[in-house]
Amino acid sequence: MKNVLFLLAFSTGLAFAQAFPTKPVQLMVAYPAGGSTDIAARIVAAIAEKDLGQSIVVLNKGGAGGQVGWTEMSRAKPDGYYIGFINLPALNTVILDPDRKAAFSVDAFVPVINQVLDPGIIWVKGDSPYKTLKDLLDAAKKNPSKISAATTGILSDDHLAILMMEEAAPGALFRIVHFDGGAPVMTAVMGGHIECAFDNVGSVFRRIRTGELRALAVMDTQRSPFIPDVPTMKELGYPTVISSSTRGIAVPKGTPQPVVKRLELSLKKAMDDPEHLKKMEEAGLQLRIMVGEEYAKYYRELHTKAAKYTEWARSRPHK
């Protein structure tokens, strides 16, 4: 009798895993269509659905810096049919900033697989007097809070990166000016209204190649394949100034493990596919595939790190 029960339990579990998916899977992107998260999501969805045997529908739920989409995802039924992209550290700071009144906690999402890691970068106008990171930091030390630095938004990875830079180079203080996304940052720095920008490689490397912009440092431990001439923070002696924006897929808490594994299998296969590699390269997006526990650990550690800098950001005068 016991055996029968065990067999029954085992076979239903198995049947469940085999049964998934029986209908299309929705892949939520918390940003509007056409953005870089959306582009990458569509590339991987188109490849992964072949292996999954069901179509993967990209669902754009943009708004409030991702908060609208993540709120919806945290409330979705955890059955594997509603999965979504989590952008880090944007998701972390939405949770950490009490002003945002987020309706979900860090545990609401279970990371499955990371796709993209877009490293941070410091850049200036092509004809700027600052030729190196040292020039810029010396100026920021000599005239504290006078050198303006643009971010793509308050508590974005770029904002946190400025704080990391100030922490690693004592005495250097920037005047932080927040913009709404990459396009207005470009406008303000190119127009000569702001001295430097903290940004991501993916959004500026083409203009760096043409010489319109000058990159001072990439905030990573290894050089970017898109701009191999630009030194890393580690090489320049600031190994703690490591910042990036990552995008990966997560499921709502409570999704059955066999379903998670099934999704992970198809998504991993798709991300290793040569077609995926080629298309991501064309889109200028740097891959950093992290699966399972590795990704979960990254998510947790980043949350702790983001908590520290979010606290700083909120207490710093002239936020």
Binding site: G35, A64, Q67, R100, D180, P184, M186, A188, H318
Partner: protein, 498 residues
């Protein structure tokens, strides 16, 4: 002359079958909207925005621009045939157009209106090609403080020129700005005025609000209007006679100039150019007594001015990102929905899109000319449709459109509530244009204001120490002062008379 090179590639793209089809569809739909009494370009573009959502950005904007021009022309048809202007800019056309129709010259009136519109529209679009690139280059030197000052100036112009009461216009501007504050704070990220309703986190949707204020409110007003009978007239002889041609030539030229220059100034609105063109013709005429009895130049001048204005008013939008009228604000909304911010950077970042759209203005004007002359009879027959069906059908279309924006009933509710608000405001004589412009400019103004203050570490002096910003703000102050004085003078004249 870099503009001409870009324009050539713009034409190549505007003339692809798909984009041509969007322009054609836009012209037909726009004319239809213009013909339907009460529904003007603002209502038309607002109601039809959801139709363009499935298109790419270029197609959507081409189609909406074509709807705009189409509606401007469609309004003429009803002015001439039933003495009811299809939209406000065709009010003047009634004066002589309807008289011409009674004398059996409806065809010639509509013909000269189409030809004048074509000349005015093409000239304004050509001027856009010349002036836009250098202007856009100049505007590239604008930083956040200059953009704030520019948008502030734009709002002051709209407020100063709207309606009879500066107080009422200011109230509407503030209402628009307040509505624009709803949603997540763009800098700090905290929710504002959302009352815990998640749908409000992204702010009030611009499209459902304008669909309500213009579309639904207009329908409610139309329902009230008395039914008008159609003049039973034969629509033969669309081609004006040699004598009529002679009289119209100068009027078309002057109408073009008036429409073009007034189109550059935000807030003038489509009505003022038509009145000015009409009055100028009357003053210049050797027989001013013929005006009002069916003078063809009384049709040619305002119709030309109104289309030149429509095309020229694209210049402030495309070059500076400042919409000059509610219709243009709705077009700006279409850019924003597609992830594009109109302004100098659009010329730099997406020249392909900008020049395709500009080329489509020429294409649209040609389509309107060849489409409308032969189809006038068909449009006229549409006027015989009973109002009740038209109104019910249009309202249904609005509801489906609002629902299709995001697939939520919330937007339908927003539209209906703003329909009622718009109806009441119109009844009470409050101008809607300042509210709509403030609503769309509000978020941009707030962002540039706060970014400027971050740049200056909180010092408001940044707006007056930078020369361009200081000059723009001085203009804004001057405009408010002048319009306050003008309205005060108007009031004392009236007060003394009664």
């Amino acid at each position: 002359m870099e503009g001409l090179q870009y324009l050539a590639s713009g034409f190549a793209s505007a003339l692809t079958p798909a984009n041509l089809a969007f322009a054609l569809a836009g012209c037909v739909l726009g004319t239809l909207i213009g013909v339907l009494p009460g529904l003007g370009p603002a209502a038309g573009t607002a109601i039809l925005i959801p139709l363009t959502f499935t298109l790419d950005a270029t197609g959507a904007i081409i189609m909406l621009a074509a709807i705009y021009y189409g509606a401007m022309y469609g309004g003429t048809i009803t002015s001439v045939l039933i003495n009811v202007p299809g939209e406000a800019a065709s009010v003047v056309t009634c004066l002589d157009g309807y008289q011409m129709a009674r004398q059996g010259r409806a065809g010639a009136a509509l013909g000269i209106a189409a030809i004048g519109s074509f000349v005015g529209g093409v000239f304004a679009a050509a001027a856009l090609v010349m002036v836009a690139p250098p202007l856009a280059r100049f505007a590239l030197s604008f930083g956040p403080p200059e953009f704030f000052a520019l948008m502030f100036l734009g709002l002051c112009l709209v407020t100063g020129l709207a309606g009879q009461s500066l107080a009422a216009a200011l109230l509407m501007t503030v209402l628009g700005l307040l509505l624009a504050l709803i949603g997540i704070d763009p800098v700090r990220g905290a929710p504002r005025f959302t009352f815990g309703i998640p749908e409000l986190y992204d702010g009030l949707g611009f499209v459902p609000v304008v669909m309500g204020l213009f579309g639904v409110a207009e329908i409610l007003l139309v329902v009230e209007a008395p039914f008008r009978r159609l003049v039973e007239t034969k629509l033969s002889g669309l081609w004006p006679s040699a004598e009529e041609w002679k009289r119209s030539g100068g009027a078309i030229g002057r109408g073009t100039a008036i429409g073009f220059f007034l189109g550059l100034i935000p807030g003038v609105g489509a009505v003022i150019p038509t009145f000015m063109a009409y009055i100028l013709e009357k003053r210049l005429s050797k027989h001013p007594e013929r005006f009002g009895t069916g003078a063809i130049e009384g049709v040619a001048a305002p119709e030309t001015a109104n289309n030149a204005y429509a095309n020229a008013s694209m210049i402030p939008l495309l070059v500076l990102g400042v919409p000059s009228s509610p219709t243009i604000a709705i077009l700006m909304g279409a850019f924003i929905i597609n992830g594009l911010t109109p302004g100098p950077f659009l010329f730099k970042e997406r020249p392909d899109l900008v020049w395709t759209v500009i080329a489509s203005f020429f294409v649209g004007n040609v389509i309107l000319l060849v489409l409308n002359l032969p189809l006038v009879g068909l449009w006229a027959r549409l006027l015989r449709l009973p109002y009740q069906y038209l109104c019910a059908g249009t309202l249904l279309f609005c509801i489906v459109g609002a629902y299709s924006l995001k697939g939520t009933l919330f937007d339908v509710g927003v539209m209906l509530v703003f329909g009622i608000i718009g109806y009441l405001l119109r009844k009470l004589g409050f101008p809607l244009a300042p509210a709509v412009l403030a609503l769309i400019l509000g978020p941009f103004m707030e962002k540039s204001l706060r970014t400027s203050l971050e740049m200056s570490a909180g010092d408001f002096g940044i707006f007056v120490t930078r020369p361009i910003s200081a000059a723009l703000l001085a203009c804004a102050a001057l405009i408010l002062a002048v319009s306050a004085l003008r309205l005060a003078a108007l009031k004392s004249i009236r007060g003394g008379g009664s």
